[in-house]
Amino acid sequence: MKKKIIIGAAIVIVLAGGLWYFLTRPSLTDTVAFPYIAHQKPAIDPHLPSSNAMADKLDDVVFDGLFNLTATPSGVIFEDGLGEFVGIESNIVTIHLKSGRYWHDSYQAFVDGKDVTIEKKGKHEFTAKDLAFTLKRIQSLGSLSPDYILVGQALPVMDFEGPNERNEIKFKFRENRIWIESDIKEILSFKILPDNSDMNALTYSIGTTSYMKVPDYENIIRFFRTQNGSAAISKAYLIPYVDNSTFTTELRNGNINVLLETPFGSISPILQEQEKFFVKSNVSSTFFAVLFNSQRLSREQRIELRRLLNNKAIVDRFFKVGTEQQRHTIDFKGNHDNYTDLVNDIVFPTSSYYVQDTIVDHIHDNNPPNLSVLPDTIRIKACLNYGYREEYSELIDILNDRTITQGRVKATAVQNDDIKRGDYDALLIAVSGYRSNFLFDLYSIFLREPDLETYKINLQTALNDKGELTVNPSSLRLNHNFLNLDASVNVAEKEDINIFLDDMYNFMSTHEVGDKQEYARRVSTDEKQMALGAWLFSLPSLAYFSTRLDSTSIDLYGVASQLSTLKKWKEAPKK
């Protein structure tokens, strides 16, 4: 009897808990819900890369360009954003600026707990001044901004004439090619900020898209459809979680309905129910690397350490290839379990244009490591607190495995302060949000301040005697980059460091394709010689969606941002 009472009480408690859960969990009706790491709130800057992959993706949610790169079932296209293409004559491009496009501060969000009501507050309309401000900002950011490269290759002067009485403006494009409409739209697809913005804000939230950011509710970052917005689904939430270890479970439990990056980038066994979930792959945008501390390891040691870190073996172990627990993958081309394609032997990932188009050689160093050169123990450290906890944990185990690193590596998880202090022989790090196109970002690897909590690029430039902008050697300073490169300290490598810095800057700052290719080769060669890191592998990009969303309305393609089509996403019709 007592046993029955206990069982009954337990059943009641479970039922009550279940009932409480169902009654209190957030409703995802008319909502797209993504997870995010709670202590890594995305700082949105539409013109700068971010270490937070979600932040880059949100650019498309909040901001419009004159034209927007977006995915379609047939590939990417450039849709009209705030502008309409009128024509081109003698390299003068005429663009009509749309009227009736309002900035988000034209609306006011009235918040009542989790409820939000949006009403019109004023008429802050998009004008040519906003465009002028944006071009000025892109110009000021220089090579830090991919948009600077894209726009600079077409516009010798980042300015325009107009608008005229028809609200048309004219850009003078360079005369070195026949500019076709799609090229012009691509050049003019940079995101536009309102001209009353702070030029150097940490984050920007006032855009012109269908979704406007409203105040957070219990750390849920919320974007609501504006009154004029054309989005099919009225809300987009970023739901906070401690780390990514529970993302799959949360999706399964219906607490979120979109998971843009699955742990390990692999197919999840617990999301195999196709009636509940569907999956879409994308080109890789994250790779793992071990960056060597040049103050602790000599070049000779770094070369041998790179040989020691057999990335092919690490990948196989990472995806548990050949085991019952093998993590299966599918890439955006539909290839299954193509782990070899994920291996990166050089700083440019295999998925990047530079490797895909064989601009740079991607040759694996098959020489066995000379262990005698290496220290007895190489301390590789990683911080698990800024995403990819699952992957980091797995990799630490792998690196500590004697069969992989021959007992010469001691990999540990540390806090961010250890990283900031440079207290490591080498650093295991995930570089996320990389672009596989021409605009691969070397600054985020080599010039980033060694502080995972913030994202700061230590680029110092100066004008030379010819009036040309050149990189200043002080860009690489001790304790201000992951590799602790500093030409003034690394005297033996001073010349190579400076050459490497020059080549990197030239790669990043040029808008000439040929120069980009040549400096890519040089950077790759420089890096190979200097052995600055072991580039391990890229993570497949796999997104899971709840079938509550209509799979036919969601297009992910190539390098287009995953959220570039968010406003087109729809809920699946109820059966």
């Binding site: 070195n176 601009i359 000439e512 120069d515 290719q517």
Partner: protein, 789 residues
Amino acid sequence: MRIYSAIPFILFLLGGCATFKELEPAPPLQPAERGFIELRNDKENFLLKKDNKYFIKFPGPVDVHFYLVLQTSAKRTVHNYCTTTFNDGKPPILPILDETADQDSLSVFAIDTSNACYYWVIDTVYQDISLSIRYRYVPQWRYAVENKYDLYRRILVDNSIDRHAYEAMGPQFNFAAFDAAAEQQKLQAKNKLLSDMNSELIKLEKVFPANIAASHDTMYQRYVGLGDDSRREIQFQADYDIVLSILQKESETKGNFIAFMNRSQEFEQFLNQKNRFRAPILEYLKSVFLRRLKEALSSYEAQLSGKNDISDIELKPPIGDVEKLFIACGQKLPYDLIQVRNYVNEFNVLATGVRDAETTYEAVTSAMQQKAPWPENSYYPELISKLEKAKIAIPENRLDRFELYKSLKITSLVSSRLQNILLQIDQRETQFQKAADIVQQINVLRLQKDYKGIIQILKANRDMTFVIAHYSDIDALLLKSQADKIREQLDAQDWKGSEDGLSVLFNDQNYFNPSQISSKKLQTVQLLETDLYEHVKSLSFEHVDAFVKKNEATIDSVTALYADSSFLPVYTLTFSSESPGRVTQKLRTIQAYLNEVKTLRFPEAAIRIIYRELTQAPRDHGVEKAHAILAHAKFYKGQDKSVRNIIDECDPLIAKPLTKPKEYRRVMVIPVNEEAMSSNEYLFRINVKIPSEAKFPVYDINFKVPSAVAEKAGKTQWFTKILLNNKVVKTEGHMRITAPSADNNYEAQITPVEILKDRENIIEVQFNYPSFQLFEVSVMAQVPIIRKN
């Protein structure tokens, strides 16, 4: 209303303000000719107030030439004047002269019918007076005669001459005691006054009325009587004056025959007026004149003795004047004077003949010395004839007949001159006869243009300097004839003959005066030499220019064209008056032009023309045209950029520069093999030299391939090989070669083509095609862009 009624009153006041007051006589003034009439104001005198001003309007006279005569004691107590116009004292005022201004109570003003009235104006009254005044209208002649008749009559009496002396003059009159000069002086003084008075009378006649002669006007009759008396006295005084003059003139020339004869004409006229002067006076003067004529012979003989040349004798006075005065005095010319006259006549005729002969001789001599060029045969015979005529024209010397004058100097002088001129003429005639023979021979040779024969004659008569002087241009003519012959040969393009002629001329010394002509001969030789050179040069140039014109569009056997003789001079020069080196230099100049045509102008023109035709119709013998251009190019040594560009365009082995991005450049593609084959080899080369800001430029290279070549590109590779800087380009790695197809308008693309900055970047495309033809490919390069995707 009141203001209007005041206007007449105001006008009246203004009218009353006139400065002068008109005095209106009653009865009114009468302008007819009468005596003086009292001018009254209703039988009373007008009262004139001190400081007031007045005027009286007098009507104009009834006829012309009248006087208005005013008689008043007030003439000096008021200031007055008479005027034809008057307007209250305002200008203009035209005062009439008072002809009796010196009189105190009479004023006389000349008036006529040209004015309707006259104004007598009193502009100043010194004190109040009663104006007593009479007026009279009177003809001017009458007024004059009335006032001057007695005066005139007294003048006549006072100035008449006492005629007693005149009446007494004759052979018996004592002229020695008579002072003719004093008498004449007295006479002339009186005659002056009388003549003045007579002039006034004549002047007065002009103002007589027309019908006065028929009237019995007493005053007029008195005037006529006075006039007759005056004229008679004046006539007498004139006659008497002449007599007094003749007497004085004869007296004044005593001792001077020539001075006497200078007045012979007056004396002669006086003697011939037998009715005017009294006969005794005439008889007396004849005897005086005959006595004076006896001085003539001695005067003439002195003149003949004093003469010492053979100019004409001109006697003074002329012997004719002497003869006339003799006749006026009633006698003939004496015999000794007749002998003088005959000698003078004979001498003058002979002297004229001698002088004329001398003049002819001088003229002929002068003509001889004038060096008349190339005289006719008649030239010297005509001179001889002139001398003959002059000789014949000399009269016979008959001066020997005048015994009295044989010894005169002039008689022997004229005889000597006569003999001398006759001798000179004979000598000159002999010279001229010889000259005439020479001239005749030369004129025969001249017709034959035998200048060398003429030179031989002249050389044989070197002493006949005046004859040689006629032919001073003989050497020049010989030179000209030789030059003309060479010029004819030049015109006939007989280059060898003309050059030989030049050589002969250059060395010829058979001239009359070789040293004198040598510089001109050399000049002629050089001129002809230049002509020969210019002819040879210009004809060579014409030949080659015509050849170029004819063949510039030729596309067959182009290489053979360059072996044509048109590129050689029409004649190879060998002679030079300067030096052998000069010949070489001239030949070099000609050859230089020919070479320039051969290596520059001909290929340049041909290349341009053929290329123009090629571009206009590339399918019409396009390959042959391109090959023709390349054949010309082998000979072309110019650096004209456009021509070089054309050659480069047609030469498949020359890379066509591509210097601008995004612009399609047309490239002609011709077979590499010279002759058609079953599979012909084609290639074209592009040199990408596009300026770029990039340090390592890359380009998309697009080719618009001919559809005939590209249409099977989908099945078989349309090209056999593509090279970039001699390295084969393949679709591998990042390099892509896009196939041309109908979908892409047969446009192939190679990308990315990495270019070596500032260096040659040769892209070579090779393909085969069955037909032997010219293709056109368009090539374009543009920079690729960095894309997000």
